[in-house]
């Protein structure tokens, strides 16, 4: 076994053992880091190939609201509700992605279309206030500890679930990375015309990562809803969330497998650090600092922190920018 495999196993053992030694507050942070890391990883599956989406809040929102609504109104277990939300979200990815890729809506036009998509979902949730509670948000009906309802007051369960989800995200990343699709997608993000000319089915390749990314993001949204037991349209689908996803993925580095997770670790540590240091009144400061950092990252370090750290190694892609 090589050193890399050993490091991965050691890391997993540490992650599995962490909840035994950490207090509940840190467990809460760890769950958030893993779940956001999962969502950022899902976003980067598109982002690394130049498909910069500013509307991933749309997929998160569907993933979170569909199972909660089914549970509250029809007592459908999240075990069915979550897959249903994932399917709907993947369908939305298909419906938006197919015409975009077919008609060559790329670059900032793609970003603006996804931005509009995020707004459509956000405002639809608010508009359906009779069943979703509008901008006040909603609470899934709580029945205490239950596997059937996927509700666990004890955080340790959600830690395990978040860890599994995160590992699933990394596995999918690896699967894309190892497959023939990666090379096709890299060719597409370098030069779409040339890629099409050598026989790559541009629309199909892009659609595949888009659907995967949408589905995983929906799963992330669903798990957040189940964990926090509170949904709010702004916190699952708002512009701020969609931008937060983009920022963290870029900061961590969207071209490396662990980059988005690094972004999650960084941003959550920064928020919590500032909150503890300055108190809750100063919460805007963390976001203001994010904003400045995002600008600096895009200008000076478009490959993100992990990407920057890894540049000492032989590069796979020299100086890749988020998109061409």
């Amino acid at each position: 076994m090589n050193a890399r495999g050993m490091a991965a196993i050691a890391g997993l053992v540490v992650l599995a053992a962490l909840p035994v030694v950490t207090p509940a507050y840190f467990l809460h942070l760890l769950i958030q880091i893993l779940l956001w890391g999962f969502i950022y990883t899902a976003w980067s599956m598109m982002g690394r190939f130049g498909l910069v989406s500013l509307g991933h809040g749309a997929f998160m929102g569907i993933g979170a609201y569909v199972p909660a609504l089914l549970w509250n109104y029809f007592a459908v277990t999240p075990w069915l509700g979550i897959p249903f939300g994932i399917v709907l979200s993947a369908l939305l990815g298909l419906v938006i992605g197919y015409p975009c890729f077919r008609l060559k809506v790329v670059g900032h036009y793609f970003a603006l279309v996804t931005l509009a998509l995020g707004q459509v979902v956000l405002l639809s949730i608010v508009a359906a206030r009779d069943i979703t509670g509008g901008s006040l948000g909603m609470t899934p009906r709580s029945i205490g500890h239950s596997w059937y309802a996927l509700q666990f007051p004890d955080k340790i369960y959600f830690y395990a679930i978040a860890l599994l989800a995160w590992l699933l995200g990394l596995a999918v990343w690896r699967w894309i990375d190892r497959g023939i699709g990666r090379e096709a997608l890299e060719a597409i993000s370098d030069d779409e015309e040339a890629a099409a000319a050598i026989g790559i089915d541009v629309t199909r390749e892009k659609l595949r990562v888009t659907i995967i990314s949408a589905a995983l993001t929906a799963l992330g949204g669903a798990l957040f809803g189940q964990y926090l037991m509170y949904l709010n349209p702004e916190t699952v689908s708002g512009i701020a969330v969609s931008l937060q996803i983009v920022f963290a993925a870029i900061a961590g580095g969207m071209y490396a497998m662990l980059g988005p997770t690094m972004g999650s670790l960084l941003t959550i540590s920064l928020t919590e650090g500032l909150r503890v240091w300055f108190g809750a009144n100063f919460v805007g400061a963390a976001n203001a600092i994010y904003g400045v950092l995002l600008v600096l990252f895009v200008i000076f370090m478009p490959r993100g922190i992990l990407g920057w750290l890894l540049t000492a190694r032989p590069r796979k892609r020299p100086d890749a920018a988020p998109a061409e």
Partner: protein, 284 residues
């Protein structure tokens, strides 16, 4: 015809003026420098706070507060270009969009930090005019007229002055313009200042009608992008038509259904139109 529906339609028309003006500013930057300032609406927010602060808190006369806000946002526009856009001018357009996304985050959080999330009103009550049984707010009428005048002045500037001609030339072909002896960097700065000034003017007009809060940019920012893209790059008439269509959907949809649903309708229309006419309504 239902007078309330007519009122909604007229209010939509009046709102279209201001939205078109803002889309024009964004369009200019998009067309000339080829960047999307995703934080454009947040520059407007800065201008609105300036008006609020100078007029309602410090008691400056309104015209001077307006002038100060326009100058301030114009200066902000120049700063945005110098600090954020210029260093990455040659990188992929999406990078510039993301960098201004950072600015959006920063401005909203900074405003929250300084001004809190309270809604603030400049506290100026302009009269409401009655025309044939219809009640129309003077503030909206004024905003529409000023927005139109602003657009005409901009049109004149772009058509009749040397700098305006250079700006249009760059929008058409940035390679050749350099050979013609135009200093691109200077034109970019002028364009950013004009774009900022238009955001400042829009801020003054919006401050007359709406409360200002740190997230006001999120409510109409996406609308401005839609109008700008739908209108087609470098197409002022198209911008006005797009602004009119979008604001009518919002006004009349808001009358029949709810405000949110009318926005959903407008955004869906935008997505569909991006597929069938990516070059804009009147695009070439």
């Amino acid at each position: 015809m239902d007078p309330y529906l007519l009122e909604a339609a007229i209010n939509g028309l009046l709102l279209a003026g201001v939205l078109a003006l803002l889309a024009l500013g964004l369009n200019l930057i998009f067309g000339v420098i080829d960047v999307v300032w995703i934080a454009y609406a947040d520059l407007v927010m800065c201008g609105m706070y300036t008006v609020y602060w100078l007029f309602a808190q410090f008691g400056w006369p309104l015209p001077i507060a307006f002038a100060a806000a326009i100058l301030e946002v114009a200066a902000l526009g120049v700063l945005v270009h110098l600090l954020i856009i210029a260093p990455i001018l040659s990188s992929a357009p999406i990078n510039q969009l993301l960098a201004t996304g950072g600015l959006l985050y920063f401005l909203q959080s900074f405003a929250t930090l300084i001004f809190s999330t309270d809604f603030r009103n400049i506290g100026l009550r302009l009269p409401i005019i009655e025309i044939g049984g219809l009640y129309i707010s003077y503030a909206r009428l004024l905003a529409f007229a000023v927005a139109l005048a602003g657009a005409v002045v901009l049109y004149w500037f772009l058509r009749r002055t040397y700098v305006g001609t250079a700006i249009r030339a760059i929008a058409q072909d940035r390679e050749i313009v350099g050979l013609m002896g135009v200093d691109q960097r200077r034109i970019y700065l002028v364009t950013s200042a004009i774009g900022g000034a238009l955001a400042g003017l829009g801020a003054c007009l919006l401050a007359l009608q709406y409360d200002v809060h740190p997230f006001i940019g999120n409510t109409f920012g996406p609308l401005i992008f839609m109008i700008c893209v739908l209108g087609g790059l470098g197409n002022m008439i198209g911008g006005f038509i797009a602004a009119f269509v979008i604001s009518q959907i919002i006004a009349i949809g808001g009358y029949y259904f709810s405000t949110e649903l009318s926005y959903v309708l407008a955004f869906t229309l935008f997505i569909v139109l991006m597929f069938i006419r990516p070059q804009g309504i009147l695009g070439r």
